[in-house]
């Protein structure tokens, strides 16, 4: 289904001149549960290039989320180093890691992880508060960010008053509001219907076009094909690293979908073919 380009370079697929913004060096993660050791990651080497859209793909339990949490500095590797923009952050104190996350990394989670009973605007403002940005500027930036994901008319809505797709777009607005160098998204479409999923991917692709580095974790080949490059994980190890030829452009699919809806005869086979592999 996914075309593989085995000739891609092994450790880095960055075009020459492109900077490496994020790097995992020999990252392992072991969990000890009642004497049984689970090897969630087995020494992963990975370089993420500036302005690249990268997909990390693999079956359930292959360690995708674990890898994302470690390169996102939410979790500690058992072994190995994580380098963010040339700086080794492996031995940093928790508060310094918080500062790096705040400034350089944005997160989009499968389960949205918005603050409950809090407005969209306040949710998006959250990283700015911890960045120490004064209130007026904060509100302005948060509003702009929400406008960019198409939610300019939903600023005062609570999470519970938004659809899943809208909530995920709030999460994307929150991830991008600090202008981070990299956005990490774990199954961003996992809880969404196909249409909302396409919308979310379209927003991510749009930001990528504007130069934001994006890592999408997914088990879904169709979602992965929105990226320029796919890294395949299996049992915690990188088994394959490929560039995507003919990547899916979410905007085009949106247009197809709209055309189908307008014609009133959604051809079920085509529709499912467009969203599911």
């Amino acid at each position: 289904m996914v075309e593989r380009f085995g000739e891609a370079a092994k450790s880095t697929s960055c075009p020459e001149e492109a900077r490496v913004v994020l790097e995992a060096r020999g990252v392992t993660k072991r969990y000890d549960l009642e004497g049984i050791t689970v090897h969630a990651l087995c020494g992963v080497d990975l370089e993420v290039c500036e302005a690249q859209m990268l997909a990390v793909m693999g079956p359930s339990g292959s360690g995708k989320s674990t890898l994302m949490h470690i390169i996102g500095l939410l979790d500690h590797p058992t072994d190995g180093n994580v380098v963010v923009e040339g700086e080794d952050v492996s031995r940093m104190a928790p508060n310094d890691l918080a500062a790096v996350r705040n400034k350089r990394i944005g997160f989009v989670f499968q389960s949205f992880n918005l603050l409950p009973r809090t407005t969209a605007l306040s949710n998006v403002e959250l990283p700015l508060i911890y960045a120490g940005i004064p209130m007026l500027k904060r509100t302005k930036l948060a509003r702009e960010s929400l406008e960019r994901v198409g939610l300019g008319d939903r600023l005062g809505h609570f999470s519970s008053q938004l659809s899943g797709g809208q909530q995920q777009r709030v999460a994307i607005a929150r991830a991008l509001v600090t202008k981070p160098s990299i956005v990490l998204a774990d199954e961003p479409t996992g809880n969404l219907d196909s249409r909302s999923g396409i919308e979310v991917m379209s927003v991510l692709q749009e930001f990528n076009r504007q130069g934001v580095t994006i890592v999408v974790v997914t088990h879904d080949a169709v979602v992965a094909r929105h990226a320029e490059r796919i890294v395949h994980l299996k049992d915690g190890c990188v088994v394959h690293d490929e560039l995507v030829k003919d990547r899916t452009i979410a905007e085009d699919k949106m247009r197809e979908l709209e055309a189908e809806e307008a014609s009133g005869f959604p051809e079920s086979q085509d529709a499912s073919g467009a969203t599911r592999a």
């Binding site: 949490h69 996102g72 939410l74 979790d75 500690h76 928790p94 508060n95 918080a98 500062a99 996350r101 705040n102 400034k103 997160f107 989670f109 992880n113 918005l114 603050l115 409950p116 009973r117 809090t118 306040s122 959250l126 990283p127 508060i129 911890y130 960045a131 120490g132 929150r174 600090t178």
Partner: protein, 394 residues
């Protein structure tokens, strides 16, 4: 991040969780209000009663039939009652300077026209006014001659006057007591309650009149006032000597000081009991606070995970939670104090109350400490987790 920002975050978080905030505050409010109110009642009753005993006059010695120490006092086991003969005996043997007053108390029904009132008769002799220091608002007390003649004259307390005569002057008016007609000769200023009941709600008449009205020769108690405070103990011994030949051990004599001591002890126990109950409410309030805080930990832990993921540092989290807990505790404490205080004032219509500062302080600090500890401790633990563990917390 500065303090103002922390406060703003905390207020916003409290606002986002109104139910939890309200329930936590309720725990503090109930604890604080209950302690203040109950201790206020205990202290108020104690002060009122001791005050009214002291207000009876000074240097008094009370003799009761029956042996109080053996639990007989004034009850069914009393075999021999005092009579007027004993009063005469005491008057004769003690000397003229010390006043001897017989006392009878009995419930009675008063009637003026169609108005009826159930109240208490307190009967004594002509020395009663000096011994019990009453102030007349109108008329006069009964005289020696009226006592000797069992005259149907009556003095009424301020509440009796209000209820039966409203704003008219009662002096000279007729009044039925248990169906017999009396003439009102005076009325007394409000005095407040006492150990013998509400003095303002009583009527006063000569002891001989009361005996005839009630068809008895008995007397409830004998009160003696010592002219000289230093002679109280001596007088008490003399009274015992005088009464022993006739009554053996079947009577009891207390000085006013002893009575006060016994009552203070009794009422102290009451206050302690109320404080104990209040302590339990405080504990229940505290457990309520703890429950709410602990139950919300899983939700709050995820919140902490989210905040840390987007860049909150440990002290950002801690300051938010400390401020939240402090705001809740202080707000709850303030409402609790207001309620306790207001409640005490409102209750004063029925029960004497006296708000004590130590009860306020104790209740407030205890609730605040519980609120802050259980609000902050789980947050402290969560703030030290890796963000991913906080996000994954269930």
């Amino acid at each position: 991040m500065n303090l103002v920002e922390s406060i703003r975050i905390a207020i916003r978080a409290l606002n986002a969780n109104k139910v939890r905030s309200a329930l936590t505050m309720l725990g503090v409010i109930i604890g604080v209000a209950a302690v203040i109110l109950l201790v206020a009642i205990g202290t108020g009753v104690q002060e009122e009663v001791t005050g009214s005993i002291e207000g009876l006059g000074s240097n008094l010695i009370f003799a009761f039939p029956g042996n109080v120490e053996e639990g007989g006092g004034g009850g069914f086991s009393v075999t021999k009652q005092f009579t007027l003969e004993d009063v005469t005996l005491l008057e004769r043997r003690l000397g003229t300077s010390d006043e001897v007053v017989p006392i009878i108390q009995s419930p009675a029904t008063l009637k003026v026209g169609s108005r009826e009132l159930r109240t208490t008769i307190a009967a004594a002799n002509e020395h009663a006014d000096e011994v019990f220091t009453s102030t007349y608002l109108g008329g006069r007390g009964y005289r020696r001659s009226e006592v000797a003649a069992s005259a149907r004259v009556i003095v009424i307390g301020s509440k009796v006057k209000d209820k039966l005569f409203s704003n008219t002057d009662p002096v000279g008016k007729k009044l039925d007591v248990n169906g017999q007609q009396f003439t009102v000769i005076g009325h007394i200023a409000a005095q407040g309650g006492s150990l013998t009941g509400d003095q303002d709600n009583q009527v006063y008449m000569p002891v001989t009149t009361a005996q005839r009205l009630l068809g008895t020769k008995d007397i409830g108690a004998i009160v003696v006032r010592a002219e000289d405070p230093r002679s109280v103990d001596m007088l008490r011994l003399r009274m015992q000597q005088i009464l022993r030949p006739k009554f053996g051990d079947e009577f009891s004599v207390f000085t006013q000081e002893e009575t006060l001591g016994i009552l203070t002890q009794l009422l102290g126990t009451l206050t302690f009991m109320l404080a104990g109950i209040a302590g339990i409410s405080l504990l229940v309030g505290g457990i309520g606070i703890m429950n709410i805080m602990l139950v919300s930990v899983s939700e709050r832990t995820r919140e902490i995970g989210i905040r840390k993921a987007v860049g909150a540092k440990t002290y950002d989290i801690m300051s938010q939670f400390v401020i939240e807990a402090v705001v809740l505790s202080i707000a709850g404490g303030a409402v609790g104090i207001a309620l306790g205080w207001g409640g005490s004032a409102a209750l004063r219509q029925w029960v004497p109350t006296e708000v004590t500062w130590w009860a306020v302080a104790l209740a407030f600090f205890f609730s605040a400490a519980v609120g802050i500890f259980f609000g902050v401790y789980p947050a402290y633990r969560a703030s030290r987790l890796d963000p991913i563990d906080a996000l994954r917390y269930e």
